[in-house]
C-alpha cells in the first residue's frame, strides 16, 4: 500500500511538472503588434581581421559589418548603435573578457563580435552574439565566403541574429511587386525588399491594377485592360507565361489567392452587380459567394483559409466585412469612419490592415478580426493606401500619395519606423509583398 502511494505521488508530481513546463512557454514571441514595442538596441563591431598584414585586404571587416547593419536596419526592429559610442573597438571573443557593464552603459542589449581570416580560397569568419544584460553567448558560428560575395555573408549573419533573437527568419528573401504608371499606361514592376534589382515584369501598356502573389510565390494575378476591357490574368513569375482566366461581360477584377495557391478570389459583375466568386485555377470552375445588391469587392483569405474579408457598401458606405469561406455568416467589422477599404490579412492571423478616410486623408489602420481594437498606423499629410503585409507579419508596405506624386514605403506593423522603398519613379502604386523565396 505504501508503495502504491509513493508511485501515485510520483505520477502526480511528474504530471504537474509537465503541465507547468507547458504553461511557461506560452509567450515565446515578441509582440510586435504591440504599440509599446521598442527597437532592440544592438552593437555591431567591425569584424577583426586576423590575417597577416601582407595578404590582407583593408576594410573587409568593416564591409561585412556594414552589410549586417544595413540588413538589420531593414527589419525595422533594431536600433543599431553608433560605433563611435563603443567602449572597445575590438572586444575579446572570450566571454569572460568582454566588458559587459561598459556595453550596458551605452544602452546596448546585444553585441556582435567577429573575426576574419583571409586566404586565397576566400574568407573564414566567425561571429559571436552576446547578451549583454546576462553576460552570455547566444551563438558562436563559423562562416566561409568568397571575397566577392560579402553581401551574402553579411545577410547570412544578419539572418542568424534575427532568428536567434526573434525566432523568425524575416523578409530577407522577399520581393515587392507594384504597378508603375506612365501617363495613362501601367505595367507591373518588381523590386527586392532591400531596394535592389528593380525590374519590369509585364509589358501590357494598358490599365493594370490589383496585383496579387500566390502564397507559393509562383504566380501573380492581376487585372489588365490589354484587350480593351478588364480581364483577370495569371502570370507565371519565373517563365513569364500569361493566361487569361476571367473575361466576362462587365467588371472582372482579381482578389487574393487561397492559402494553398489553388483558388483565386474574383469580383465579377456578370450576374448584374459586383459579387465575389472563387475561381479554381486548375479547371476555371466558378463559385459565387456573395448575393447582395451592393458593391462587394477586394476579397482576401484569412491565413488558415477559413474566412474571407472583403469590402462592401451594403450599409451605405464602403466598410470591411468578414464571411466564412463558403459565403455564410457575413459580419461587418469596421464601424468608425465613412470609407474603409483595401483589407489585407496579417499572415500570422489576428489582424487586418486597411485604409480609412480620416480628416479628408486616407490613412492605414489595423483592426483585430473581431473588430474591437483599432490602431491608426499612419497619420502624415499624404494619402496612405494599399497596405500589404510582409511574410513575417512584422512590416507593412504601402503607397503614400501626395498630389500627383507617389512613393512606396515600408513601416513596422505597429506604424513605427516608416521608410521609403521607392521614390523618383514616375508613379508607383499598389505594392504587394511576395512570400519568402527559397
Amino acid at each position: 500500500m505504501k508503495k502504491t502511494c509513493l508511485f501515485l505521488f510520483l505520477t502526480l508530481f511528474f504530471c504537474t511538472l509537465f503541465i507547468f513546463s507547458h504553461g511557461v512557454d506560452a509567450k515565446v514571441y515578441v509582440d510586435i503588434d504591440s504599440p509599446n514595442f521598442q527597437q532592440i538596441p544592438i552593437a555591431i563591431c567591425d569584424f577583426y581581421n586576423k590575417t597577416a598584414s601582407a595578404t590582407k585586404s583593408e576594410n573587409v571587416g568593416a564591409i561585412i559589418s556594414d552589410g549586417i547593419k544595413k540588413d538589420l536596419s531593414l527589419t525595422g526592429i533594431f536600433n543599431i548603435l553608433n560605433n563611435k559610442s563603443f567602449p572597445e573597438s575590438n572586444p575579446s571573443d572570450a566571454k569572460e573578457s568582454v566588458r559587459f557593464s561598459d556595453w550596458a552603459l551605452i544602452g546596448a542589449d546585444f553585441l556582435l563580435q567577429g573575426n576574419i581570416t583571409q586566404n586565397n580560397k576566400g574568407i573564414a569568419a566567425d561571429g559571436r552574439l552576446f547578451d549583454i544584460t546576462r553576460g552570455e553567448t547566444l551563438f558562436y558560428k563559423k562562416y566561409f565566403s568568397d571575397i566577392n560575395n560579402l553581401k551574402f555573408l553579411s545577410r547570412k549573419i544578419a539572418s542568424d541574429i534575427l532568428l536567434t533573437l526573434t525566432n523568425d527568419e524575416g523578409e530577407f528573401n522577399t520581393k515587392i511587386i507594384f504597378v508603375s504608371k506612365k501617363g495613362s499606361k501601367s505595367d507591373l514592376s518588381v523590386i527586392n525588399y532591400d531596394g535592389s534589382e528593380l525590374k519590369n515584369v509585364t509589358n501590357h501598356q494598358s490599365i493594370l491594377i490589383a496585383p496579387r502573389w500566390s502564397p507559393d510565390g509562383n504566380l501573380i494575378a492581376f487585372t489588365s485592360f490589354k484587350d480593351g476591357h478588364p480581364a483577370v490574368y495569371i502570370r507565371n513569375f519565373k517563365n513569364g507565361s500569361e493566361r487569361k482566366v476571367a473575361s466576362f461581360d462587365g467588371l472582372n477584377m482579381c482578389g487574393a489567392f487561397s492559402p494553398d495557391s489553388k483558388k483565386l478570389l474574383l469580383t465579377l459583375s456578370k450576374d448584374g452587380n459586383e459579387e465575389i466568386y472563387t475561381l479554381e485555377i486548375g479547371n476555371l470552375k466558378l463559385k459565387r459567394l456573395t448575393n447582395n445588391y451592393s458593391i462587394d469587392v477586394s476579397p482576401v483569405w484569412s491565413p488558415d483559409g477559413g474566412k474571407i474579408a472583403f469590402v462592401s457598401n451594403r450599409a451605405g458606405s464602403p466598410q470591411i466585412y468578414i464571411m466564412d469561406s463558403d459565403g455564410n455568416n457575413v459580419r461587418r467589422i469596421t464601424f468608425k469612419g465613412k470609407y474603409n477599404t483595401s483589407p489585407a490579412w496579417s499572415p500570422r492571423g489576428g489582424y487586418i490592415a486597411y485604409e480609412g478616410l480620416v480628416n479628408d486623408k486616407y490613412q492605414i489602420f489595423s483592426i483585430d478580426e473581431e473588430g474591437n481594437r483599432i490602431f491608426q498606423l499612419t497619420s502624415d499629410a499624404a494619402n496612405n493606401e494599399s497596405p500589404s503585409w510582409s511574410p513575417s507579419g512584422r512590416q507593412i508596405v504601402y503607397v503614400s500619395r501626395k498630389s500627383s506624386k507617389s512613393k512606396i514605403c515600408i513601416m513596422n506593423s505597429n506604424g513605427s519606423n516608416p521608410r521609403i522603398l521607392i521614390e523618383n519613379l514616375n508613379k508607383p502604386v499598389m505594392p504587394t509583398w511576395s512570400p519568402r523565396f527559397k
Binding site: K3, T4, T11, F14, F18, S21, V24, D25, K27, V30, F37, Q38, I40, P41, K70, S73, F78, N79, I80, N82, G107, D109, F110, T133, L138, T166, K182, D194, G195, S196, E197, I207, I209, A210, T223, H229, P230, L251, M253, T267, S269, N273, I295, S298, S317, P318, K338, Y339, T341, S342, E355, L357, Y362, N383, R419, I420, N424, L425, N426, M430
Partner: protein, 196 residues
C-alpha cells in the same frame, strides 16, 4: 493479485507521463531560453529614437530615371477632352462615392435617350469613371456601378437594352488631372461612346 494489477497500472501511467515529460522538456528548454532573451529584449529600456539607424533603403534604392513623356500625356489628355466634346450626347456627373442618378443627370439622360432612339444607333458604350480619391479597386467597382445604373436609366426611358454595353475605367482616365474638387467633380462621370 489485485494489488499486483494496481501496481502494474500505476507503473504504466508513470512510464507514460515520464515519456511525455522528457519528450517535451527537450524541445521546451530551447524555446524557454529563447523566451527569456526575447522578453529581456522587449523590457529593456530602448535608447532615444535611433539617430544611429541610417535609412539604409535609400542608399540601396536603384533610381532609374523614368520621366514620363509629358507631351504624350498631354496629347492623351486633350484627346480625351476632345472625345468628350465630340460625343453627340453629354456626360452625366455623380456625387462622391455615389452611383445614384442626380436630378441634373436625369434631364441629360432624357435628352440622351431621345437622341439614341431617334438616330437608331447600332450600339452605345457607357463608361463609368471616378475621381482619384479612394481605393483603385473600389473605384473600379464604383465606376462599373455608375455605368450600370446609367444603362438601367436609359433602358427605362425606352432604349433597347441589347445595344448598351458598359465598362468601368475606375479612376484611371480622369478628364481633369488637377487635385481639387472642381477637377474631381468633372471626373466622376458616365461618358457615352456612340457607334452610329
Amino acid at each position: 493479485m489485485k494489488k499486483n494489477l494496481t501496481f502494474i497500472g500505476i507503473l504504466i501511467v508513470l512510464i507514460i507521463s515520464l515519456t511525455i515529460f522528457s519528450g517535451c522538456s527537450e524541445k521546451k528548454s530551447i524555446v524557454k531560453s529563447d523566451e527569456t532573451k526575447v522578453q529581456e529584449t522587449v523590457s529593456a529600456p530602448a535608447p532615444a529614437p535611433a539617430e544611429t539607424t541610417e535609412p539604409a533603403t535609400q542608399d540601396n534604392v536603384s533610381q532609374p530615371i523614368e520621366t514620363t513623356n509629358l507631351k504624350d500625356t498631354a496629347n492623351e489628355q486633350s484627346s480625351l477632352m476632345e472625345a468628350t466634346a465630340k460625343s453627340p450626347i453629354s456626360d452625366i456627373n455623380f456625387d462622391f462615392d455615389s452611383y445614384s442618378i442626380r436630378p441634373d443627370a436625369r434631364e441629360i439622360l432624357k435628352f440622351n435617350a431621345d437622341y439614341l432612339l431617334k438616330h437608331k444607333v447600332s450600339s452605345v458604350l457607357v463608361e463609368g469613371h471616378c475621381d482619384e480619391r479612394g481605393t483603385d479597386e473600389y473605384n473600379m467597382a464604383l465606376g462599373q456601378r455608375r455605368a450600370q445604373e446609367t444603362k438601367k436609366y436609359l433602358v427605362n426611358l425606352g432604349v433597347n437594352e441589347s445595344i448598351i454595353k458598359t465598362i468601368s475605367y475606375g479612376e484611371e482616365r480622369p478628364l481633369d488631372t488637377d487635385n481639387n474638387e472642381e477637377a474631381w467633380a468633372k471626373n466622376r462621370r458616365a461618358h457615352f461612346v456612340v457607334n452610329p
